[in-house]
């Protein structure tokens, strides 16, 4: 018996490996290799065009933390990235959780489906399209100034959506929020829908208030979803590129929205300083790793919730 179960396990393990191998080969060539390459490059002074490549140790890392990298220092990029991430990801998680909970309260599936569909539609548009729409909306003559003037009871004030450094950051957050809110609402609804009705029914029988039910039952049961959604949202925000890039291409200045990825792009691709850009990517990698780790700690034991 023992012998047999051992061989079954062996056989099983073999199949597990077989199933993962195609992906593994793929990742080895198209992810691990380029990443290791980037790691090694970060220790050299490699330039794109010159192709010189000498080992310089940690020089690039010291440089990006102490010097201003041609007017666009890493410290500014970290600031821009963190502000963007915090300003986007926290409101997005809270808002999508609230909206998802509210949607679940609707009496008819039909309405819920409709709202979900409409909330998700922006996510369907490509970033290029989204940016070109918003750039027209944010134009001084555009809708956004008209709406803001209406709401703020002012007349003809230009809120400088694409110009002022604070407003520019808010604009990028708004575009991002608009694009992904529906997506996260859906992820939360998937999580909420997986909670069996019987639990709610039991709670209603117990006479719990809705508010109470939400805090004591829904939220804890939603932990695995929350963990997944928030990690994903956070990683996405930390990696944001296209929104900022498109706005910069449209004429907005780079400094306020110079997120790390954008700095990597300009340092590595436009200015051809590959070594330095790779060092920045490794820093970004470490930042993401730390944040993910913290998040996982905060939502510990999330994987094995039993209903």
């Amino acid at each position: 018996m023992g012998q047999k179960s051992y061989s079954i396990e062996r056989k099983q393990a073999k199949w597990g490996l077989i199933f993962t191998i195609p992906c593994l080969i793929f990742f080895a060539v198209f992810s691990f290799y380029p990443i290791i390459n980037a790691l090694i490059t970060s220790l050299t002074n490699r330039r794109a065009i010159a192709r010189t490549s000498e080992f310089v140790g940690l020089e690039n890392y010291i440089y990006i933390f102490t010097k201003d990298n041609g007017g666009f220092p890493l410290s500014n990029s970290i600031r821009a990235t963190l502000i963007f991430t915090i300003g986007t990801f926290i409101p997005m998680i809270i808002a999508s959780l609230i909206i998802a909970t509210f949607l679940m309260q609707l009496r008819k599936d039909k309405y819920r489906g409709f709202f979900q569909l409409m909330y998700y539609t922006p996510a369907v548009l490509s970033s290029v399209v989204a940016a070109s729409i918003w750039m027209i909306i944010f134009d001084p003559r555009g809708l956004m100034n008209q709406i803001s003037n209406f709401v703020m009871h002012t007349s003809g004030v230009d809120y400088n959506w694409l110009v002022d450094s604070t407003m520019l950051q808010i604009s990028t957050m708004m575009i991002y929020f608009w694009k992904y809110i529906g997506y996260f609402v859906i992820l939360f609804i998937t999580g909420l829908a997986a909670i069996p009705n019987t639990i709610y029914e039991a709670a209603t029988v117990d006479g719990s208030s809705r508010w109470h039910t939400f805090w004591k039952i829904t939220l804890p049961l939603l932990k695995p979803t929350t963990a997944m959604v928030s990690i994903m949202a956070m990683l996405q925000c930390l990696k944001t590129f296209s929104t900022q890039y498109m706005l910069h291409q449209g004429g907005s200045s780079r400094f306020p929205i110079d997120v790390i990825t954008m700095n990597i792009y300009f340092t590595g691709i436009r200015n051809g300083r590959l070594g330095r850009a790779s060092a920045m990517s490794i820093v970004l990698f470490l930042i993401m790793l730390v944040f993910t780790y913290i998040q996982l700690r905060l939502t510990r034991s999330s994987e094995d919730v039993e209903y």
């Binding site: 409409m118 490509s126 859906i186």
Partner: protein, 291 residues
């Protein structure tokens, strides 16, 4: 759902107000795009903005209802590569979403339901690739692809995105909750492992497959940097490239720009609305529970 049947409460009214506000926020820019694609630049940036394209605009001599769309498709020199670029985008996005679903479900299944040495290490290694921004590996990746002589080919555009770490992650998370008893029962019945995968695991993963499929479709549809680098000839370019190029040429013609954006979004809209019932939040979960 019938757990809160009763009179309409203040809370419910508030809920509706909030939901409608969010609805306005998400939908207004899209309606704006559609409406603006029928207007000329002057009208789009008029203050105050009117949501209905004005009559005089359509009746003026040099414009018809579809002038903007004509411009969007023909570009300046009557060389309609628009449809060719659209086709390229579709080929790349469809292929990549199919391969992603296939490879990610296979790998996710292997990682979720089998115990073998190095399983966690593999999982972590794959996850860690999510933490490197694409801009950082663009050049090494380009070297790999150009080494394989795949520059300016569909292969070069498709293969580097055949599967995503996120896809593996999502499939694994989903399959972790998949009851192992089904699989064991099938094994007792003598089904081979590939057979179990194709006839039990896959059919039972429809909602997550739909979500993942549309997500990777969207990601590829959206991809700008990689095609910019790899798809060089006019006939290999994709729609995002077309739009950025168009916006540079037509910087001052907002109407044509919006028409171009609208046209480019139509395939995505069609796909999204026709598949929505599969991936809209746990629709399948509902059905199974109600059924």
């Amino acid at each position: 759902m019938n757990k809160f049947v009763g009179k309409i409460t203040i809370a419910e009214v508030l809920i509706w107000i909030l939901l409608i506000l969010v609805f306005l926020f998400t939908v207004t820019p899209i309606i704006f795009m559609v409406v603006a694609s029928f207007m000329d630049a002057k009208q789009i940036l008029a203050m105050p903005f009117s949501w209905i394209p004005s009559r005089e605009y359509f009746t003026s001599a040099d414009r018809t209802f579809f002038t903007n769309f004509q411009k969007a498709i023909m570009g300046n020199n009557d060389n309609p590569v628009f449809f060719r670029n659209l086709l390229n985008s579709l080929i790349v996005a469809i292929t990549d979403s199919v391969t992603t679903v296939f490879l990610a479900s296979l790998c996710g299944y292997g990682l979720a339901k089998f115990k073998f040495k190095g399983r966690n290490l593999i999982f972590l290694a794959i996850m860690s690739t999510m933490m490197i921004p694409f801009e950082a590996i663009m050049i090494p990746l380009y070297m790999v692809v150009s080494g394989m002589k795949m520059i300016n080919t569909y292969r070069g555009m498709i293969i580097p995105f055949m599967v995503s770490a996120f896809g593996v992650f999502q499939m694994r998370q989903y399959l972790l909750t998949f009851p192992s008893e089904y699989l064991d029962a099938a094994r007792v019945d003598g089904l081979s492992e590939p057979r179990i995968y194709s006839s039990i695991v896959l059919p039972n993963s429809k909602p997550v497959i739909a979500t993942l499929g549309i997500l990777s479709f969207r990601n590829q549809w959206d991809n700008l940097l990689w095609p910019l680098l790899v798809a060089q000839s006019e006939t290999m370019k994709t729609i995002p490239q077309y739009i950025t190029k168009f916006s540079e040429e037509k910087m001052t013609d907002e109407g044509a720009m919006m028409a171009c954006a609208f046209l480019a979004s139509i395939p995505m809209f069609i796909l999204f609305f026709s598949l929505s019932k599969y991936f809209l939040g746990g629709a399948a979960v509902y059905d199974s529970r109600k059924g």
